[in-house]
Point group: C2
Chain length 222, copies 2
Amino acid sequence: MSTPPAVPTEDPASSRRPRSYAKGVARRQEILDRAIEVFAAKGSEGTSLRAIAEKIGVSHAALLHYFGSREELLVEVLRERERRHDDYRTADDRRAHDEVVGGMVRAAHRNVTVPGFVSLYTSLLAGSLEPDREYSREFFATRFARIRDRLSALIRIGQEEGGIRADVDPEAMAALVIAASDGLQTQWLLEPSVGIERSLALLELILEPDPAESDKNSSRTA
Amino acid sequence: MSTPPAVPTEDPASSRRPRSYAKGVARRQEILDRAIEVFAAKGSEGTSLRAIAEKIGVSHAALLHYFGSREELLVEVLRERERRHDDYRTADDRRAHDEVVGGMVRAAHRNVTVPGFVSLYTSLLAGSLEPDREYSREFFATRFARIRDRLSALIRIGQEEGGIRADVDPEAMAALVIAASDGLQTQWLLEPSVGIERSLALLELILEPDPAESDKNSSRTA
DNA sequence: GTCTATAGGGCGATAGAC
DNA sequence: GTCTATCGCCCTATAGAC
């Protein structure tokens, strides 16, 4: 799995900086890219700061120069990967019913090809629940809130268009879809015969508008 | 991984052992009880072997005498707690539709009162996905398989009795219910406004038999 | 600004004294 | 059966070389 050359273009304020600032940013990105490769292959445990540094070819102190702590490095790896694959950014509002569960199915499909990331994600999420893990807790809390917001918005659109059952609480359904996706991937890691997609597909039965209740909406796309 | 000289509790061959075996078992149980109290209050991180030992009032080496490793101690804490609350053992087959989701709701209700256990569970589960975690991986794999079996059996009963929609795959639904329960508790820990029960209740919509399709269904499970 | 070298304190695990 | 002592590893912090 190769990675395109690191060309960070996000900080406009750097134009006022002296020089050789870009190099630091590039180096940081380079380390991030290599770290992603490492985690894709292995999980997160057994991957001490020293072990990661060794595989990347730098000292463990160098890693801490760019990332304040091991926790922060791991979070940034997750954040970067998420930036590359945003499954709901391209969601088509016209097909809200399919997109709600479809986005999760696509994400699960991709994750199944790199068990290391599922493991990293699960491990970091669990750790974020403990005290003194402000950085990762903030990341996950924000991430969950963001995805819940997008999903519930998508659900509301579907309800207005009549493609989604109207009496379903969008917030509750959003949380459920995320929970199911996370939980199924964990079960799948322990028992690969668990069909992630098959179980997720059941969630669509919740969304289907009940024909008997279509006194409120009557437009339905087959 | 070396095998400790410690005496396993469930080995029938131990009848040949000299004596003073019962006391060891009693002491082990005593330590387990104290450990459960400790974990109910706090999570699993920050609870090093030394910290647990100090709170219980023994040396950390004593803990390792009764439990081969930290991993094993934590698993036994979970196992013991589960032994005390088995939510599907008492399931009433006559009300299969309600019991499927109901059991999870009851478990979630109880867990919400002791966040430390949810945290311990999540942390240990995440760790079990890593290499060299044979003991906890075996525990979770067995646990998930057992609950899936019970749930799917309950679902089949409900389908035969007509209380549960017939075209739902029992195995896939069982995995989904467990996944949702686990995932929702995690989200709830990060954002208490997430309504676990409200989201779980949506799963019941999947089970509801569709009156319009009742006559379309002709094949039954053998 | 970038990175190396080094040190401190905590961890799980083990060995051997009592 | 339980303890003290100790080992090797870990994360983190920091001083200072380039």
